[in-house]
């Protein structure tokens, strides 16, 4: 499903060159739940941003659903993103000026889905995340756990093949964090591939595989549990 070979990302300023990730080769199969772990600054988020087509690598190749994307421009990456990817961030990244319903509806508007279908999909996603009763509330009127449920609804409303989560429980207490992890686990059981950056061993225990980074390179991998690979 996803395959990187020799991926490197270099940030440069006038005097300093920083290799945020260095020669990373990684394969993620359809239906997997992969946790990426490592100390702060080891390149986890940089790798996730490249896997999520938010950024390009400096060198190396990235095959995303059989397409070599490492040289794609922003427009081509955006096309692939809106059809295939959902994102969950530590800070929720909800739009403060839009209510819950409008936040979740937004990706469907970008996908060009008609209004009647949008309404059905948004209500279904909100119901699934147990947040339907807050559909006309604004993000600042919700608790952290509720905001993350809205963010998960927004990530799944377009039925993406892959969900990328960057520290999804980082701003939540343990009860709300567990709720989010249970939701991700259910989505994975329904067939969604999940790639999650985390510091939490508890969150990582939901994954099939843990990939550990240090200084921008993969140090080791642990298989936690087998998964049934979905076939097309």
């Amino acid at each position: 499903m996803l395959k990187t070979i020799g991926l490197t990302k270099i940030y440069r300023n006038d005097e300093v060159e920083t290799r945020a990730i260095n020669d990373v080769s990684l394969e993620v199969k359809e239906g997997e739940f992969v946790a990426i772990m490592g100390p702060s600054g080891c390149g986890k988020t940089t790798l996730l941003n490249i896997l999520g087509l938010l950024d390009n690598p400096s060198t190396g190749t990235y095959h995303f659903l059989d397409q070599e994307t490492s040289k794609y421009n922003e427009r081509k990456r955006a096309q692939l993103r809106k059809k295939n990817l959902g994102y969950i961030f530590q800070n929720f990244n909800l739009i403060e000026e839009l209510n819950v319903y409008e936040n979740v509806e937004l990706p469907l508007i970008y996908m060009g889905i008609k209004s009647s279908a949008r309404k059905r999909l948004v209500l279904t996603a909100l119901e699934k995340m147990h947040i339907l009763h807050r559909k006309y509330h604004f993000p600042q009127q919700l608790s952290g756990g509720q905001q993350q449920r809205v963010a998960v609804a927004r990530a799944v409303v377009g039925a993406p093949k892959i969900i990328l989560a960057d520290e999804p429980t980082g701003n939540l207490d343990s009860a709300h964090g567990e709720e989010v992890m249970r939701t991700l686990n259910e989505l994975n059981k329904e067939g969604t591939t999940i790639i999650m950056v985390t510091h939490s061993q508890r969150d990582a225990s939901y994954a099939n595989r843990i990939v550990r980074l240090f200084d921008g390179q993969i140090i080791n991998e642990n298989i936690l549990q087998s998964f049934s690979q979905k076939t097309n």
Binding site: M37, S174, G177, I219, N220
Partner: protein, 87 residues
């Protein structure tokens, strides 16, 4: 589903093993963790890169233990927490 339990450990030394016994109703389980501090000045005579050094150390570590967490390098030392594999 995993439940989070936080246990504050007393000050620990490298190579120290923590045995944690968990009892839920009548079920008991044991978890063993070992904390290691890899010293890049002392333990790396071949002067390998940090990444190669870490890979080598983890590969050569006991088959009965696996990495639980690698922490950020501090003062040329890399702390690693190992967890005993289930038998």
């Amino acid at each position: 589903m995993p439940k989070e339990i936080k246990i504050l450990l007393p000050e620990h030394l490298p190579d120290e093993v923590f045995d944690i016994q968990i009892q839920s109703s009548s079920k008991k389980c044991f978890l063993n963790y070992r904390f290691e501090l890899l010293d890049l000045d002392k333990d790396n005579p071949e002067n390998l890169s940090n990444v190669d050094f870490l890979k080598q150390k983890i590969k050569a570590y006991s088959d009965y233990w696996e990495v639980a967490e690698i922490f950020a390098q501090e003062n040329n030392k890399i702390p690693i927490l190992f967890k005993q594999k289930k038998q």
